[in-house]
């Protein structure tokens, strides 16, 4: 399931919901992304995430489907927030349920790497110097490229 929303979410309730009624699931790997109080060289007071409604959901659906093709997953969940967020706030939850823990771990990491680089979100950070739009990072692009190279692996 995919959700793009402004309000917060409850990771425990979401993870529990994911496995209800399916006792073939051996485990759920999840990642909760939080707003950090720093970025690169400076302190961050807040950030605002803007997105392209419609295109975001389509792309998240597509990448979740790709994860389900690559790994034997019983369920996938991606929740991504937009709007203004402060340090410590939750931004994103990815959870993958599988009979096998390797599949759950790898799929969750694949989805997080993709989200950090390819999802149509734009980030504006507020610091003591004011607000500025963040530029795309090369290191994140590399993480995504790694998965592209392993496409047949």
């Amino acid at each position: 399931m995919i959700r793009v929303q402004e309000h917060d979410f409850d990771p425990g309730a979401e993870i529990a919901q994911l496995t209800v009624g399916n006792t073939a699931i051996g485990g759920v790997c999840s990642f909760v992304g939080l707003v950090r109080d720093f970025a690169g060289d400076g302190a961050v007071h807040a950030m605002t995430l803007e997105h392209y409604p419609g295109m975001t959901e389509r792309q998240l659906e597509a990448i979740a489907a790709e994860a389900r093709r690559r790994w034997p997953l019983d369920a996938t969940l991606v929740i991504h927030r937009y709007g203004r967020l402060e340090p410590g706030d939750r931004i994103v939850l990815v959870a993958c349920a599988s009979a096998h823990r390797d599949a759950a771990f790898e799929a969750c990491r694949f989805l997080m790497d993709w989200l950090k680089t390819k999802a149509p979100f734009w980030k504006k950070e507020e610091s003591a110097d004011g607000a500025r739009w963040v530029e795309a990072k090369a290191s994140d692009d590399e993480a995504t490229r790694k998965w592209a190279e392993n496409k047949d692996g």
Binding site: H51, Y52, K118, A119, P120, F121, K123, E135, A136
Partner: protein
């Protein structure tokens, strides 16, 4: 056609969403960008560095050669920075 602008492209053009008629002579994304530059100082500044302006047509990423028609939803935005 519907045009959407995101992040600093929205701020520089001062527009988040608009409906326009396909300008005369424009058949592809590159032509639309060239036309945008002539719409005023805000648009000229927003589209100055074409290397960093990304475009989606009907919610798919495309390059400058991609055709555009009057029924398309076209979006301009900077490279995504993720969540």
């Amino acid at each position: 056609m519907k045009i959407l602008y995101f992040a600093w492209l929205k701020e520089k053009t001062g527009v988040s969403e608009e409906d326009i008629h396909l300008p005369d002579g424009v058949t592809d994304v590159a032509g639309l960008v060239a036309w945008m530059k002539g719409r005023g100082p805000g648009f000229a500044e927003a589209f100055t560095d074409e290397a960093v302006v990304r475009c989606a047509v009907n919610q798919d990423h495309v390059d400058g050669a991609h055709p555009v028609t009057d029924r398309d939803e076209v979006a301009f935005f900077p490279p995504v920075t993720g969540g």
